[in-house]
């Protein structure tokens, strides 16, 4: 394999943008490239690139909007069944130790208590975990965190559940809790799993960093860190289980129904088709509902009692045991030439995995792959280590580690701009990813790279909103600053297969049943799938009914995470629709006596592109289908074109496409009370094709506010492994009055990957605001903050230290 960028001679100052932008530089590595799709035929290219859409790009109403607005949506917590039990979990109160003695007899004897279960009641596998199955469904002996599940209770009322939980007697044999990464790494620290506390380590390198640093005119070296965060989805984890025709059926608030199905079935040692997981309306997830929450506990209680059972976590319980954002520390050394050309980056990062792996392996891999930021860096050396501790379990949280490392790669860009006296946008444009850029993994970017456009659009909007004269603090005791942050984000799982599927049937009346596995957690995938399906078939949005995330009827959708569903389930939907359309095309072609490839399907009509008068309506076509006895059925799947990453240097193709974004934050700091107030945010996102621009904007707006929370408000407070701020009253997320004026802007870069060129925006929406806030604070008060969040107390401390 040859990668010219990894050649030290090429990595010095001689490389300029013109060289690396030309495709001559290198070829992407070709190992283990995923085979082409097995779908019989792909939609034609001409149609894919045709931006004159009839349904796509339109702000159709979200499929779930009406029911939600009138308050009719049934969440799992609203569900009731006759003869229903309530379930609860007895959890550990210590972070580390062993169960010395457990007595459930008093609890089990309470009238109205249906059962009290321990690990002994699990007929199958007592292990769960999305990547590494290291978490017991019920603890057998060893306790690894506060909140570990030990027993389950089912009872006739919620009050009886409480009573039974209080009647369970336990004695612990407590051992030292490992609460810091430093302690975890020590040889003599207690081991949380197996022989070492090192959960994973990674090394990505290319070129020769040491040699390159010698060529640099400027070197910036800084340490950044990001604390633990909680998702605070508004609806706590909840579900209901019952047997329906002998099938264990679980309605649950989840992002991952197909994964849930397997975990429940394996626990009960029954086949996967004996479990049906149906996603209940889900009130937010942000990654916190990817892990198993109530699913297995519900399944086990239903299995043992045979009765319908409901579990709704209390807010405190939900916050205590759902996954958290990995706390990370990142040390960056960045070197550049006087003209701003970046030559080298050396990065070391560590992360706190907490008690169980959860999505940890995905977070470390993605963080490493994205660590350079959206910039061409020819010489890179990135090392990362994540450690198990007895802290709460870290996992997936909107961005899988990229929000954390964005603090660092953007902090470095801003520091570099200051050091060089360069405009921070010019510096970024100089080093920006473009079509043809070779990534540190050796992948060449071949299409859909709209980063520079996001920078330019952000600058234009900024100049329109602010100029040197009008840009003033609103009061004498305030200081105002603008900050910038950027990001790139690979769509889908990192260097791993992650397919999704779809089924389509066009019915005789031209309405369509579309079945997708994809969980809609409020972001609007159901709407997007319907738009894609309607566009491909040439029908209207209203013609499409979507059944989703229902494992007995919908195909695998994979997780609603990694900003992947529009791209992957969307492409699967398009492929399925296209398969059904092929039959329709054949029939229409025979009927109209026009070659199939000349036919246009649009807005319930079919016509010859060369002779628009040769046409038929969709109802006519469906009548013809019926007459000759054909069905318009389609099956589609899609697996992004990626490769596994080399264990040696992490080279390979981690993602098929990347989204890009730039945010500009305008904020004020009150230098007397140390309050910060974000006033305006411009957030520009390259999403490929915006399937539904209003929903993209909504994602951006929500992401901006969450980004402000990340940067300036949110922080999990831990004492000895226990989260002290479990509630909204003390885990502070921004509320409506804290939201700034937001300018969401969309850039549509061109590419053939994805449905009609669409990428993803779910996680990107959050990211660039975070580093932009940090930069804005620095520009307002002249103090660099590398540790986020930047709280009022930090500003007070630092400003008074300076004086």
């Amino acid at each position: 394999m040859k990668k010219n960028v990894r050649n030290p001679e090429q990595t010095t100052a001689t490389i300029d943008t013109s060289v690396r932008d030309s495709k001559v530089v290198t070829q992407p590595p070709q190992r283990k490239t995923v085979e082409p799709q097995e779908v019989p035929a792909q939609p034609q290219k001409s149609e894919t690139l045709d931006r004159d859409f009839s349904v796509l790009g339109k702000n159709v109403n979200k499929k779930d909007a009406y029911e939600k607005v009138i308050g009719k949506t049934q969440f799992a917590g609203d569900m009731k069944r006759p003869n229903m039990l309530y379930g609860g979990v007895f959890r550990s109160k210590i972070p580390a130790g062993f169960i010395d003695h457990l007595d459930i007899s008093k609890a089990a004897a309470i009238p109205g208590v249906a059962c009290v279960l321990t690990y002994k009641d699990i007929p199958g596998l007592n292990q769960t975990g999305i990547i590494i199955k290291d978490e017991p469904i019920l603890v057998e002996n060893k306790i690894r965190r506060i909140g570990d599940a030990i027993c389950l209770v089912a009872a006739e009322t919620e009050e009886l559940v409480e009573e039974a939980l209080n009647a369970i007697e336990i004695e612990y044999d407590e051992i030292e809790a490992v609460l810091t990464i430093d302690r975890a790494a020590e040889a003599d620290s207690p081991k949380i799993h197996g022989e070492t506390n090192l959960h994973q380590s990674k090394h990505l390198f290319c070129g020769d960093v040491d040699a390159a640093f010698e060529q640099c005119d400027v070197i910036v070296e800084k340490t950044y860190s990001s604390g633990m965060k909680s998702h605070m989805f508004i609806e706590p984890d909840a579900g209901l289980a019952e047997y329906v025709n002998g099938i264990l059926t679980i309605y649950v608030s989840t992002q991952n129904p197909h994964f849930d199905r397997g975990e429940v079935a394996n626990m009960l040692a029954i086949s996967h088709n004996k479990v049906n997981v149906i996603q209940a309306a889900t009130g937010g997830g942000f990654g916190g509902k990817l892990d198993i929450g109530v699913q297995c506990h519900l399944g086990l209680l239903c299995y043992h009692t045979g009765r319908p059972i409901k579990m709704v976590r209390k807010r405190e319980e939900s916050t205590m045991v759902s996954s958290k954002r990995h706390p990370m520390t990142m040390h960056y050394k960045t070197g550049a030439k006087k003209d701003g050309t970046i030559l080298a980056m050396k990065i070391h990062m560590t992360g706190d995995t907490g008690a169980y792996a959860s999505y940890g392996p995905a977070v470390i891999t993605r963080a490493v792959v994205h660590a350079t930021g959206p910039y061409y860096v020819p010489n890179v050396d990135i090392t990362a280590e994540f450690y198990y501790t007895n802290n709460p379990m870290s996992g997936a949280f909107r961005g899988f580690g990229v929000p954390q490392i964005s603090i660092a790669h953007e902090g470095q860009m801003n520091a570099l701009a200051r050091e060089l006296g360069m405009d921070p946008i010019d510096l970024r444009i100089k080093n920006a990813h473009r079509v043809g850029t070779i990534l540190p993994t050796g992948q060449e970017l071949t299409e859909s790279v709209g980063f520079v456009e996001t920078l330019e659009a952000a600058r234009e909007k900024m100049n329109e909103l602010f100029n040197d004269e009008t840009y003033q603090p609103s009061a004498p005791n305030k200081k105002r600053g603008l900050g910038i942050g950027c990001m790139w984000y690979g769509i889908g799982n990192t260097g791993l297969p992650n397919p999704a599927g779809a089924f389509v049937e066009v019915l005789g009346d031209c309405s369509v049943n579309l079945l997708v596995g994809c969980a809609d957690i409020g972001q609007g995938s159901t709407t997007v799938m319907a738009q894609i399906c309607a566009e491909e078939l040439g029908l209207n949005y209203e013609d499409i009914n979507v059944t989703y995330a229902h494992t007995m009827v919908t195909p695998e959708g994979g997780a609603t995470s990694a900003s992947r569903q529009t791209f992957i389930s969307g492409k699967a939907t398009q492929n399925a629709a296209y398969m059904a359309k092929q039959t329709l095309m054949e029939v229409a072609s025979d009927y109209l006596k026009v070659p199939a490839e000349r036919l246009i399907f649009r807005e319930r009509k079919i016509w010859d592109r060369e002779d628009p008068d040769t046409k038929m309506t969709y109802p006519m076509l469906m009548m013809e289908m019926r007459r000759i006895g054909k069905l318009a059925l389609g099956v589609g799947s899609y697996n992004p074109k990626t490769t596994y990453l080399s264990p040696k240097d992490m080279s390979g193709i981690p993602f098929e496409v990347y989204s890009y974004a730039t945010a500009i934050v305008d904020l004020e700091v009150n230098v007397e009370t140390y309050e910060t107030e974000v006033k305006n945010v411009i957030s520009v996102h390259d999403v490929g094709t915006a399937v539904n621009p209003q929903m993209v904007e909504a994602q951006i707006e929500g992401g901006v506010v969450m980004g402000i929370g990340f940067a300036l408000f949110e922080d999990v407070i831990l004492t000895r492994g226990r989260i002290k701020n479990l509630n909204f009253s003390d885990y502070i997320i921004p509320a409506a009055m804290d939201a700034p004026k937001i300018y969401p802007l969309i850039v549509e870069s061109e590419g053939e990957a994805g449905p009609f060129g669409a990428k993803g925006v779910g996680e990107p929406a959050l990211i660039p605001t975070i580093p932009a806030c940090a930069d804005a604070v620095e520009n307002a008060v002249g103090i660099h903050f590398g540790n986020l969040p930047i709280l009022y107390i930090d500003i007070a401390r630092e400003m008074n230290r300076k004086r």
């Binding site: 007397e672 009370t673 009253s729």
Partner: protein, 291 residues
């Protein structure tokens, strides 16, 4: 939440009967924005809950006998919209404006706030600056005490209320043109934020625009809001002019240092208090038309 019996009396008299009957096993509920949390968390496990929210007798804002009377059932939303308050009692208006969120202001009552007497409560800090008196009533009779005396823990209560008593009203000396009042607080966000730090002041001026009398209170620095005689003394005699007032700000920092020197939050509070206090001073000057 444990099951309980629920009473919803229509008169204060009825309510007082029930209270005296079930003294040690009854909880009063007004808006419920504090009590429900207590019930859910198991902090209180009453056999009876007495709903006083229907007692219209306790919902009033009026001036008489040189006093402003605020009935215990007055919600923060009512306070916020009341013209007497917004015109003449700016610190109360400000407090009502920034309390909780629209939903909480709609339910939460002055009585509930005063009886909860939370460290993070808004009204105790403000009422202390206004030199408020609370009026309590039981079958045994009626008694009055200053809010300062009232805000002393008694058993399970964070105030002096007895098991069989209802808070009837809070009253404060009526405003006149020589009074100016201000309240500033800091929370971790703009709404729905627990008070991290607060301060209130009531200034009385003389004819030469000098401070004749001052009451200054600090909130969220000790178990209950406290007055600062030291700051008050330093303010008295000062000209109502920012330049002259500004040196007093340092005393606020000293007061915080003295109160909470060893707590981690002191890092912020000792600095932030000057910002809040200066805000109060500016509000006062503005009310007097001196800026």
């Amino acid at each position: 939440m444990r099951a309980f019996n629920f009473f919803s009396p229509e008169t204060v008299e009825e309510a007082l009967d029930l209270l005296s009957q079930h003294q040690d096993s009854i909880a009063v509920i007004a808006g419920g924005t504090d009590l429900i949390i207590d019930l859910n968390e198991g902090g209180k496990k009453p056999d009876y809950v007495l709903d006083i929210s229907q007692l219209k007798e306790l919902d009033y804002i009026s001036e008489s006998d040189g006093m402003l009377h605020i009935g215990a059932n007055t919600t923060f939303a009512t306070l916020e919209k009341n013209e007497l308050i917004s015109e003449y009692y700016p610190a109360i208006a400000k407090m009502a404006d920034y309390m909780g969120s629209p939903q909480i202001r709609e339910l939460g009552t002055v009585g509930g706030n005063v009886v909860s007497a939370s460290v993070a409560g808004d009204s105790p800090t403000v009422f202390l600056a206004y030199d408020a008196t609370v009026v309590l009533q039981s079958k045994r009779g009626t008694r009055e005490m200053s809010i300062e005396e009232f805000n002393v823990n008694r058993g399970k209560f964070r105030c002096q209320i007895e098991d069989d008593e209802l808070l009837i009203e809070v009253k404060i000396p009526q405003a006149n043109s020589n009074f100016a009042t201000a309240y500033r607080k800091f929370g971790k966000r703009k709404s729905l934020a627990i008070v991290v730090l607060a301060t209130a002041m009531r200034i009385e001026r003389d004819r030469d625009n000098r401070i004749k009398d001052a009451r200054v209170t600090l909130g969220a620095v000790s178990l209950h809001p406290m007055r600062s005689p030291k700051i008050e003394k330093a303010l008295i005699g000062k000209k109502l002019d920012m330049e002259e007032l500004e040196p007093v700000l340092q005393l606020y920092t000293e007061e915080i240092d003295a109160a909470i020197a060893s707590r981690p939050s002191v890092v912020y509070k000792r600095e932030g208090i000057r910002g809040l206090a200066k805000g109060c001073m500016m509000d006062v000057l503005e009310q007097y038309g001196l800026v």
